[in-house]
């Protein structure tokens, strides 16, 4: 294939993926100045502050959780390391709204923790006069989100630390740098592109989250989007706020790119890393650090889910869960395959294209990620139903029976929405690893007379193999958990595990769907373990 063919394919697909956003924009041209002014005069400034606080706190918490653990796993040897390297990924399989539900149940005023504390320390205080702490606030919500989102950064940073190899670090140490200095001055800057990608995922997830912050009674810009659209009935104001959020995010990313400047790091170490053996209190702290993450992000929630499931066992026996599980896995797998294949196409096109516009398909196709999921679902419906309605009209006009809604009424709409939403996840992962492949390899390949497709197949794909797996895993797990789009776009009598769980969670009755929630987690476990094993073998 010549450059042009790659470009045409990448452009066509990315335009199809961005169509929902474009149609939403077109729909949003109506006037809504009064509503906008009203929001601005009343609540919007506080929403913005809350949003920034949430995103910044989630990023900080996630970095605090993920970077030390990734570094420990990649560079050090300590008891249990072999298990922790995949155990640390497990919280990713846990939907944030489930964790939020469980922890508020545990920690709010009426929960067992505060009840016990009152009984122990304040038994003589009159009812209503007790001191209590509030978990439903901004830091609480940020902590919950970080607890299940940090594995993004952990996964990416761990791979980056590994690929960077330990010899640079050893050189740095031999030149008199302390471990912390080496970490800060060598490891961190080299991994910066990867860390930024990880943080970008986490930031976007935090920004677009509605279920968790809503559960924590924290109002953010996403609240404003839902309010303007579903409360004030203005899709155009909702679209405008979404676009403002998008501009904000792109601004931050642009600043980061500008600040990174023209630095490029082409380095890939594939030799055997010499692990730094931790002993004594260092080893103990490493174990405690990693274990507390796994415990709070995974073990404790799962144990509580199990206890719910046992308590309410009789309610879980209607036999449809097996089918729901299969449907969900199949759907998530399909979306993951498509998304990853497209990401490779986009990133490769960027690489082989001689003009700067070659990078646009990647950027365009990543944009839907910033849209709140319910808004994306409706945005997907706009072009899709327009097309279907004209198609039906045409079919009827030429004398056939109308075929009905063959796209939006079937699982096609779901897969499309999943791909549109999570393309950014795959793009980010694959783009970062393409960046680490030195361009000199391309030149060598060209000078040896290989075509572009041969280069992709023989040179790039083997080199970025790990990232391809990573991308598939991430998208798969995201699709397993994805809720708002799945709720609106699924066909009749079709449930994913997430929608099944949600009908109970929306009534604050997670207990009754605990078993299904466990299945979401279980379905995520296998790919997580499988992936870390693959990663391990290749070094």
């Amino acid at each position: 294939m010549s450059n042009n063919k790659w470009l045409i394919a990448a452009w066509t697909i990315s335009i199809i993926l961005i169509l929902p956003a474009v149609f939403l924009l077109l729909q949003s041209t109506g006037s809504d100045t009064p509503l906008f002014e009203h929001l601005w005069a009343t609540v919007l400034s506080e929403y913005i502050v809350n949003t920034i606080q949430i995103v910044v706190l989630v990023l900080l918490f996630s970095a605090f959780f993920a970077l030390p653990s990734a570094w420990l796993i990649a560079m050090c040897d300590f008891p249990g390391r072999r298990y922790f390297q995949w155990l640390l990924m497990l919280p990713l399989a846990m939907p944030a709204y489930v964790v939020a539900y469980i922890y508020t149940d545990l920690f709010d005023f009426a929960g067992p923790i505060q009840r016990t504390m009152r009984a122990l320390f304040q038994s003589d205080v009159a009812v209503g006069q007790h001191w209590f702490f509030e978990i439903r606030n901004v830091p609480g919500a940020a902590l919950m989100l970080a607890l299940v989102l940090y594995p993004y950064l952990y996964l990416i940073a761990r791979t980056a630390f590994m690929e960077q190899g330990s010899h640079l670090f050893q050189v740095s140490r031999s030149l008199g740098q302390k471990p912390w200095q080496s970490f800060r001055r060598i490891a961190m800057p080299l991994c910066r592109p990867a860390i930024v990608v990880g943080l970008m995922f986490i930031g976007a997830e935090a920004l677009g989250d509605f279920a968790t912050v809503h559960y924590f009674a924290v109002n953010t810009l996403t609240t404003a989007v839902y309010d303007s659209w579903l409360g004030h009935g203005s899709l155009s104001a909702a679209a405008k706020i979404s676009i403002l959020m998008l501009i904000g995010v792109m601004g931050i990313l642009a600043i980061e790119r500008w600040q990174r400047g023209r630095q490029r790091f082409y380095h890939k170490y594939t030799g055997q890393n010499a692990l730094f053996k931790l002993t004594g209190w260092r080893a103990t702290s490493a174990v405690i650090y990693c274990f507390s993450l796994v415990f709070s992000g995974f073990i404790l929630p799962v144990v509580i889910l199990l206890s719910y499931a046992i308590d309410y066992a009789s309610l879980n026996t209607d036999g449809q869960l097996g089918r729901v599980l299969l449907q969900t896995v199949w759907l998530a797998l399909l979306a993951a395959l498509i998304t990853t294949a497209l990401a490779v196409l986009f990133s490769f096109t960027t690489r082989v294209s001689s003009s700067a516009s070659g990078a646009l398909p990647t950027k365009l196709s990543s944009m839907s990620y910033m849209m709140p999921s319910t808004v994306l679902a409706i945005a997907v419906l706009i072009p899709m139903t327009l097309f279907e309605n004209s198609f039906n009209d045409f079919w009827v006009a030429i004398g056939y029976q109308a075929p009905g809604l063959f796209l939006s009424g079937t699982t096609f709409a779901l897969v499309f929405a999943f791909v549109a939403r999570f393309q950014a996840v795959a793009n980010g992962t694959i783009e970062a690893s393409f960046l680490a492949v030195s361009p000199s390899l391309d030149m060598a390949s060209k000078s040896l007379g290989k075509t572009d497709s041969q280069m992709l197949r023989l040179i790039h794909l083997p080199l970025i193999k790990k990232s391809v797996f990573t991308a598939m895993l991430l998208v798969f797990i995201e699709c397993m958990k994805e809720l708002p789009a799945a709720l609106l776009l699924r066909p009749f009598n079709f449930d994913t595990l997430a929608t099944f769980v949600y009908q109970y969670v929306s009534d604050e009755q997670l207990e009754q769907a605990a078993f299904a929630a466990i299945l979401i987690v279980l379905a995520g476990l296998y790919p997580v373990m499988r992936l870390t094993q693959t990663g391990e073998k290749s070094i």
Partner: protein
Amino acid sequence: MSHKVLGFLTLLAFAPQVNAASPEVNVYSYRQPFLIKPITTAFTEKTGIKVNILYAKQGIAEKLEREGKYSPADMVLTSDFNRLLEITQKGLTQANHDVQLIQAIPKQYRANDGHWFALTTRARALYVSKSRVEANDQITYEDLATGLFKGRICIRSGKHPYNISLIASMIAHHGEQQTKIWLTGLKDNLARKPQGNDRGQVKAIKEGVCDIALGNSYYYGKMLQNKEQKQWADAVNIVFPNQNDRGVHINISGMALAKYAPNKQNAEKLMAFLSDEEAQSMYSALNMEYPVNPAVEPSEMVKSWGEFKSDTLPLSEMVKHRKTAYKLLDEVKFDL
């Protein structure tokens, strides 16, 4: 790329196909399927018509609007009146003049033009602490904003449809200015910022966070039937406010026939069934709501909460003030 095309084709082949041979009816529902499943199962057993349900909490009206005339939806179920009127106002419904339906549902609980029908009613009641609030039926919604309840009230988000309806009814009775003052007073009296659901407020009363909370009447029955939540319900009395003036605020759950219903006759059968005695008494027995069909008695449990006087403000009057209610909530920063 061909394997991807193949993938999509397989996808279409696997997608659940609408089978014209067996009779069925397609329902878009704002109500959780587990609430209505027993009732639709009874319908299927009786008529042989299969009921397909698509549940979502938000966006059904928007989806229906986008799908247009090829929409598979035959009817819509909602859990409050605002949503019901929203779909009729968007022109997404058609009239149903079924005689049986009209006879079953009293005039104030259906549209004159047959575009919407209520199925059940529920009161926006007060849950008050048994030990810390003296039981009386003199309390009014207006009292909640007075100094009497300083720091003693719990409530879910003001923007939940149930609260929006109540605030809209306050606007209808007292006007926008007075309602804003009331909302400010109510907010000042809150023990904690609005959060959780109606049951969560009762739980908070039990634990001593607050003494009084707003909640829909049916939650009382649901909590009493739940082994963990029974102790929450046991800590409170349910009180129907404003008994000496206009009566307690009433909301409804309801249904409408979709404009382009492909299985219109089946949908009409289901609508008639839902208003009929069997389904109406199931609603009351299972969901603890009040049947709209006057021929049907509420269940024993629901009856045990006592008779009460209801606000007779027409639902369509109330719903006019819905957007103003949203605006006021923002202005007093109720949820913040």
